[in-house]
């Protein structure tokens, strides 16, 4: 056998390289979780304080190791681990042509900054074209992702409508709801949906929100007659979800549409413990805001003119609080209450306000979220089906082609490992379609071996010697295999350049699977069969 030693060396090098680059993947998905479970088990049964402290520190070490290894392991796509995929587009309607790119740059920077501060593991934030940003957040659910990205951090200070005026508007809406919009509400009157909250506020039960919001959308002309100038127009806004006497409600406010002051005037935002007099807010966290000089002046004059009225602090269209203005405030300090005992939300909020509002509104033009449960389900089903398919095919090969089939089986198995190793070293992600591509690779690998073996059988039937039959079989089939693989690679390449997300995973996996297939199905199998014939001295080849 020509170049036998060189070939053997090459094969060994490849095998070692494949195993080496797959080792971190094995660690991340198999050995570390096992160790982690073991330690956690130990922790729950720990007797002494020292023991549990020791185990705890080991767990922390393990976490650090995980982060290190993660960089070198095969990544699983969002469709497998769950998470959020978003494509954002800068709203160009308010921008001049030259400003778009700059706005997108800044938006990307701000989003990146926020995502980093929120501590998301392995996020992807990428530009797509001039005005689009791709954001992928593994393991983050929809609500949290939206609070990171979606928040435009539009902070406004709006005057609350006077009580008498509010009462009038509500009455008009109630009349409308009874007469005109009978279908909008489940049960007749609008007033049935309003709950008194505290002394002055009104609230709406969480379950009634869809109906009420729809009704409020319809009655805009009642609130704001067309004759009224924009400066004096009003709108309804809700407060955040809160518990009130055992119910989940949101407060409802009628506010002036035009804000007195916006978040542009914020100089700093930080987390503080609430120290005011409201008993309901004791032990909760707030965001303290400091206004810049110009905003401080405006704030002072607004508060000065409206003593006794309520000024709402509105963040992204949600009323955070609506304190009564007791006196003129010249210091330029304000606070946003969160009502949370936990500082997390206040911290998130401060980050969003600090890192600034996005330079232009962003529109979510594509959004895909996969719950972790479905991801787990998909990965189980995906792996199960690929494994079953592969095993059946391997059994068939071994059964049909005897020893040669077994050799081909080993090559096929290695084909899968090799493909995964390449994906891992390219830092590519394994997606659900990627698993399908892997199964397809197995199919194509079998095809190559069937082509070769059928050819060898044919040659044997012609009465050639085993050696000659093997040589012609391989060399004749090689041309066909290359042709066949090239055409599939062409389609896969086209898919790669035009496809999005998961499809890229499909085509990438298929392309490498097919290229590696040439090495495993042809080179590796040939080497093994040659070795059996020359070194082991097999007289005939079971095929």
């Amino acid at each position: 056998m020509r170049y036998g030693k060189i070939k053997l060396a090459l094969i060994i090098i490849v095998i070692v390289a494949v195993l080496y680059s797959l080792y971190p993947t094995y660690q991340l998905y198999f050995s570390i979780p096992k160790r982690e479970n073991y330690l956690k088990n130990l922790l729950s049964n720990a007797q002494t304080k020292e023991d549990s402290a020791r185990i705890q520190s080991e767990l922390v070490d393990l976490e650090g190791e995980k982060i290190k290894i993660h960089k070198r392991a095969l990544h699983l796509g969002l469709d497998l681990v769950g998470g959020m995929h978003l494509v954002l587009e800068i709203d160009k309607s308010q921008l001049a042509r030259g400003e778009v790119k700059d706005a997108a740059d800044r938006a990307q920077e701000i989003i990146k900054n926020r995502v980093d501060q929120f501590g998301v593991f392995e996020p992807i934030i990428q530009r797509m074209g001039e005005d689009r940003i791709l954001v992928q957040l593994p393991g983050v659910d929809r609500a949290r992702a939206k609070s990171i990205i979606g928040q435009t951090a539009l902070l406004e200070f709006k005057l609350v409508a006077e009580e008498r005026f509010t009462a009038e508007v509500l009455k008009k809406i109630d009349e409308y709801s009874k007469k005109v919009a009978k279908d909008t509400l489940k049960e007749g009157s609008f007033f049935n949906y309003l709950i008194d909250v505290g002394k002055v506020d009104l609230g709406v039960d969480e379950r009634d929100l869809p109906y009420v919001s729809r009704l409020l959308e319809e009655v805009d002309t009642i609130i704001n007659p067309p004759s009224r100038p924009e400066r004096d127009q009003y709108e309804f806004l809700f407060g955040p979800l809160e518990n009130y006497e055992g119910k989940r409600i949101r407060r409802l406010y009628l506010l002036k549409k035009v804000p007195e002051l916006t978040g542009k005037g914020i100089a700093s935002a930080r987390v503080d413990a609430y120290q005011g007099s409201n008993i309901n807010l004791a032990n909760t966290w707030i965001v303290s805001l400091k206004l810049n000089r110009e905003a401080t002046r405006t704030f002072a004059s607004v508060t000065g003119r409206n003593v006794g009225r309520r000024l709402a602090i509105v963040l992204d269209g949600v009323v955070r609080s609506a304190p009564v203005i007791q006196e003129r405030i010249p210091s330029g300090e304000a606070m946003i209450t969160t009502g949370d005992v936990n500082p997390e939300r206040a911290r998130d909020l401060a980050i969003v306000i600090r890192s600034g509002s996005l330079p232009a509104p962003v529109l979510v033009i594509e959004e895909r979220s996969v719950g972790p449960a479905l991801g787990l389900d998909a990965i189980n089903k995906g792996i199960k089906s690929v494994v079953i398919a592969a095993i059946l095919v391997l059994i068939f090969m071994a059964f049909y082609y005897k020893l040669s089939g077994l050799i081909a089986d080993c090559a096929l198995f290695f084909n899968i490992l090799f493909t995964l190793a390449v994906l891992a070293s390219l830092r590519a992600t394994l997606t659900l379609p990627g698993l399908a591509a892997l199964a397809l690779t197995v199919g194509m690998g079998v095809d190559a071996n069937v082509l070769i073996f059928e050819r060898i059988r044919e040659e044997l039937r012609f009465g050639r010697t085993v050696r000659a039959a093997v040589d012609t079989g391989f060399s004749r089939a090689l041309v066909t295999i290359i042709d066949a693989n090239v055409t599939t690679v062409i389609t896969a390449l086209v898919l790669y350049f035009f496809g999005t997300g998961p499809i890229k995973g499909f085509s990438l996996t298929l392309i490498f699977g097919l290229l590696i297939n040439l090495f495993t199905a042809v080179f590796l199998t040939k080497f093994a069969i040659d070795a059996l014939l020359t070194k082991v001295g097999l007289r005939s080849l079971p095929i």
Binding site: S369, G371, A373, A439, D483
Partner: protein, 300 residues
């Protein structure tokens, strides 16, 4: 040596009229289904809109879900049950989505309101803006055309023009019939479906190449005057390979279709069907077309 396919000597070419007619009928039926009768059921990827994959702890009736959607004023909703009573896939069009900014959370609230025990949960939510859908449609069309052109170039570069054309006609035949399958069963056309179609195209050419390769080899070995015999011999010689590979690949795709996750299921169904069609066309159509071409161009 086990032989699944015995040595055959079937005269495929002489019986081409039957398969031509069969292919033509299925081909036309597919075109009819795609363009006139059933059309293609575009999924969110291409049409835009929102898809929700919901599960419930306690069973809920499909009609009730439809009723709730109607109450919300959603006109474009389609409800597809995935696991009777427990898992549903709801799709709404882009117009409704843009009107209802909090569609998914509102829907959950409504369902909880009417069926407190059902404990709905969103497994997956996908929203695609209408513009991105249109872009994707355009890109996919370009991808399909480029894919076919790329194969045509490669095939005509590697083989003579006759076989190139034969292979490409077979490819169009397979792709149209597979698309007809998608249309007939109203499988939602999303990106994975396009991937399946492209893979079928690759597979179809793959099969044609194996036969053409053998014809080329036999042309060198045998006397050239009996083209019909050469073609038949080549098909017969490669028959066991063609059927074996089709069977093993179908084994894989059938298992994916049975055990795979939702999207992979559709992908695998189309693949299975496409491979059957592709195998059929590589046995019955490619060489027959080449033979007819040859007969027309050089009358003896």
């Amino acid at each position: 040596m086990i032989r699944l396919i015995p040595k055959t000597n079937i005269n495929f070419i002489s019986r081409r009229k039957i398969t031509y007619i069969l292919s033509l009928i299925i081909f036309l039926a597919s075109l009819l289904s795609i363009f006139l009768l059933r059309g293609l059921n575009y999924g969110v990827d291409f049409s835009g809109g929102t898809v929700l994959h919901l599960t419930f702890r306690a069973p809920i009736k499909t009609e009730d879900l439809r009723g709730i959607l109607q109450k919300m004023g959603v006109k474009s909703a389609t409800v597809q049950k995935y696991i009777e009573g427990y898992e549903f896939i709801i799709k709404i069009g882009p117009a409704d989505y843009q009107r209802l900014a909090n569609f998914s959370s509102d829907l959950l609230t409504m369902i909880k309101d009417y069926y407190p025990e059902s404990e709905p949960e969103i497994l997956k939510e996908e929203t695609v803006g209408p513009r991105i859908g249109r872009e994707l449609q355009r890109n996919t069309l370009i991808a399909l055309i480029l894919g076919i052109i790329g194969i045509l170039i490669y095939v005509s570069f590697r083989f003579d023009f006759r076989f190139g054309t034969g292979a490409v006609l077979a490819l169009i035949h397979d792709a149209v019939i597979a698309t007809g399958f998608v249309s007939f069963f109203q499988i939602p056309v999303n990106v994975p479906v396009v991937a399946a179609l492209l893979t079928i195209i690759g597979y179809s050419v793959n099969d044609s190449i194996v036969v053409s390769d053998r014809v080329r080899e036999n042309l060198r070995k045998m006397r050239k005057d009996n083209f019909l015999e050469i073609l038949n011999k080549s098909i017969n010689e490669t028959l066991s390979r063609t059927i074996l590979t089709a069977l093993t690949t179908i084994l894989v795709t059938v298992i994916l279709a049975i055990f795979g996750a939702a999207e992979i299921k559709d992908f695998a169904k189309i693949m299975t069907f496409g491979i059957i069609v592709g195998t059929y066309s590589s046995i019955f159509i490619v060489c027959a077309l080449v033979f007819d071409w040859e007969k027309k161009s050089s009358p003896r």
